[in-house]
Symmetry: C2
Subunit: 211 residues, 2 copies
Amino acid sequence: MFKEALEQHYGFLFEPPLMEEILAYGSLKKVAAGQQLIEIGELITHMPLLLSGAIKIMREDEKSDELLLYFIEKGDTCAMSFSCCMGGSKSDIRAVAETDAEIVMIPVAQMESWMGKYKTWQQFVLDSYQARMKELLQTIDTLAFMRMDDRLLKHLQDKAKVTGDDHIHATHQEIAYDLHTSRVVISRLLKKLENEGKISMHRNDITVIDL
Amino acid sequence: MFKEALEQHYGFLFEPPLMEEILAYGSLKKVAAGQQLIEIGELITHMPLLLSGAIKIMREDEKSDELLLYFIEKGDTCAMSFSCCMGGSKSDIRAVAETDAEIVMIPVAQMESWMGKYKTWQQFVLDSYQARMKELLQTIDTLAFMRMDDRLLKHLQDKAKVTGDDHIHATHQEIAYDLHTSRVVISRLLKKLENEGKISMHRNDITVIDL
DNA sequence: TATGCTTTGTAACATCTGTTACCAAGGGTT
DNA sequence: AACCCTTGGTAACAGATGTTACAAAGCATA
């Protein structure tokens, strides 16, 4: 059962009858780091409430070029990890577990009935949309106004933050995919960041010093 | 009065009592092309319903670098041109009239009460959020996956579409601001597009051939 | 230790984008 | 015509990023 964890993260948000319904209709899903939660084009049937861990949200174009949009953090006012939960539409994004995570999955049908019944749920959904919107604006700022070296450092800092660990276990190639660039560019810029004293590097392990 | 125009664009969406309320509490605002509707950091007091014309939504960073996010079209299911109408928060974006436009302004207070009262309004707000989200994703795709020449052509096509005119009246400098680059770059790429037969150019007038 | 795979470092080069500088063309005013 | 201001064209260069190629280091396993 996930009653305790749910109370802890969402108890202060939702009224008791709504909490009851969430317990009744929601199901707990445990996923391991790296596991894919939803793929682009897939039909959305459930909405996730994150209890623990972190999820990364990715975008992809026709040529299979990838880009990380943002992370959803554990304990975050997370909902609408999927921009298009409502109305039976298909996913515009891919969601992948960044760490091991525990998620309560709510069927979309319930969600829609709650919109009318529970004021706190309505507010929660609106707040979540707004939070996602801010994340997207932040992503746009990053793409439009920052150069790759700053984007890289920010990525490492974000990653350290959501995992709660200043040691990052990722290859240069994996980082390159997230930032939509090439491995050589990442190696080059990481070396530069190391020379500047902002990180230190070992094989498969980057330590972020400048948090 | 704006009863007819409102009926025409929103009548099929909202139930009659809601239409009455919109007429009662909304006020018509006519703006000329180029006029600013809202500035970054301003408190949001009204939500706009676009009756005619087009609005462009811009983002800016600390260094006053600008970037066009997207256009809102006349007749579009437009609301939430401002990502943060709810909750008395401040604007993350700037809105500028791209053409002359007519807008019904709804006080935020009304809007919030309607969320509980009218199912159609609730759906409208959610749909709008979703539409804005898709626009932002589209903007991200453009920034992450396209080069400047394609971004430029897309910009010209978008602009022709929202104004309903394949003649674009803008200086190279103005276009450069929208795309967050320099005038020289735009001149260079416009010349290239002209050589490729996709546009034709005269002073202060670009004709989009490849629509 | 020998072998093979993955990961990282680095050089050399191509290309795209941004910057500076200057001139020319267009259009309006006196 | 003479003048001025805005706009556009172009060269030359700088810097950032992407690409290709290859070598070296780290790690696992036979």
